[in-house]
Symmetry: C2
Subunit: 334 residues, 2 copies
Amino acid sequence: MRTTMMDIARDLKVSVVTVSKVLRNQGRISDATRKRVLQHAKKLNYQMNWVARSLVTRRTYTIGLLLPEFAHPFFAEIARAVAHTVRPHGYHVMISSFEEDPELETSEVDCLLARQVDGLIIASAQPLRCLDMFERVQQRKIPYVLIDRPVEGLRACFVGVDNLAIGRLATEHLIARGCSRIGHLRGPEMGIAVDRLEGYRCALARSGLRVLPSYIVAGGHGDATGYEGMRKMLKTPPVPDGVFCYNDLVAIGAMRAILEAGLKLPDDIALVGAGNVQYCDVLAVPLTTVDQGTCRIGVLAAELLIARISSKRPMRPKTILIPPRLVERESTRR
Amino acid sequence: MRTTMMDIARDLKVSVVTVSKVLRNQGRISDATRKRVLQHAKKLNYQMNWVARSLVTRRTYTIGLLLPEFAHPFFAEIARAVAHTVRPHGYHVMISSFEEDPELETSEVDCLLARQVDGLIIASAQPLRCLDMFERVQQRKIPYVLIDRPVEGLRACFVGVDNLAIGRLATEHLIARGCSRIGHLRGPEMGIAVDRLEGYRCALARSGLRVLPSYIVAGGHGDATGYEGMRKMLKTPPVPDGVFCYNDLVAIGAMRAILEAGLKLPDDIALVGAGNVQYCDVLAVPLTTVDQGTCRIGVLAAELLIARISSKRPMRPKTILIPPRLVERESTRR
DNA sequence: TGCACTAGATTAATCGTTAACCCTTGAACA
DNA sequence: TGTTCAAGGGTTAACGATTAATCTAGTGCA
């Protein structure tokens, strides 16, 4: 049986409350009593029951982290940053990945709410105009911070990168490197991929280059879609001489397709990714990419969340947009 | 204010217990009452308070997952597999990474115990013969499963790969590919790296090749140590024609060093890693590696843990060793 | 009529802590 | 002598559920 405060209290013939006060270093307790309690607690190997404490204090010191995909290095790094940031404040993280499935996301949020998390950090995959999940969270007055993917029509905290700038930065870089037929392997139909596409369009327009419809190929999140997309793009001439990929994973897939086709990188096709994911510097051809401050997103989101949890009064939503930064490597060096 | 069972009970003029029974689908309740309760619960947007429930049932449906390093793709994949496996059973995962720091590991374990996790999965970094952390867990009768790194002198469940076989498999493969001067970038002084080294030694001995001390270079877990180690090895002739690396990350670092030195892979030096980490097929030279069934480790550990949690009687410790499997890619194809 | 039985609910106790008050004692001070 | 005050502690009631024991009709049957 595990020891409780009552065991200590009984043995020492003091009240449970006295024990509780000593253990919390609160209230007025004589040094003698304090010492006795602490000693006996150590002797019995006492450990606080956080569940019981949480029930009465109404705080679990747990935050929920909802991610679309765990194995993705981008989200893994975020998870790491979040866990790291909240630990000094006594918080633990409950992580849940919902595999890009909005329904699973909703049910996980509900589950985390039921488990009484003190706050949530969400990289949401909710479809457009589906705000009821968030409304439920707000109704329960649980602070939350969105990351990576903003949700339209929602007044909420957000930490992410300026995706339009990413698209522009990457495309402008390709232009500067002398590319004139610039393709884009775009991401999903909705969400941040739209902004990156817009940035791409914008950069091309600015420098007077034409946007060929056949140069924009639809895709998804992973490297498989990048591979397929690139193969498709290579089949329809004129073959591009530069491609901006929605993210690094897509770029990795694209790179495989390019090399398989016997083309040279960057000489035949220059490639730019986005994300600056771990180990994208040791690829077949080290990948030029746009850094989106992954780690900072996690840290800032965590700090923002803790600030909200600690604050008495409701604070008004805050948006943090991290400016992206181009990281040039071999895949565009020519 | 959030709704409680009492709110529902009061409104409906039934007892809290009746509500509880309906919500748990337990006990004999008339269809009429059941319906009323369910309807009203939905109307009030009721959500179970798991903290309160946990206090009385003494189960949190939470398991703790302790990892040495979060960002490492190997552990990220394990985390994913564990979370995935336990979800259908109603469990959530609290993840904690302790950055290879034994003291932090201990304090995190204590914290997770205080939070009343139902079980633990640990990839431990405890130094040799430091078992008191585990003893504390056992004393509390919390089931736990060790993964990846066995702990000597501890009668506990373990799920991992046969590291000796990894070393042998990798080295034998290099021998089969015609290498005769085979080096080893080894991992940390203790733990699984020792077995992999032993496997390497064993394979060389079997085929009558000599083990040169200068061919065994000490290192750590990450790619930085692989890079340094390889540079060192290249400086002391005779340069090896095949190298087995402690893990894929080390191999990635080694590959960078080899390419920087102007040598060709696999023609000058053939390289084998271990782990079959994600994306090691898209490296500068796709890496031959030994698959250690990462995903299966996570799944099996999670299943084993849940079995122990659910079982009434204490089961006796079970060890699962996954047989490794060689995955040949370009880095040794010659 | 009386007894046993059952379905359907209620009451009381419990889980381990904390929050909010209340009580005692002795010393200081007017 | 009486009042005040602080130190050091205790009492009681939550927190929001579950579990075990108990009650109350209604029914069947001898």
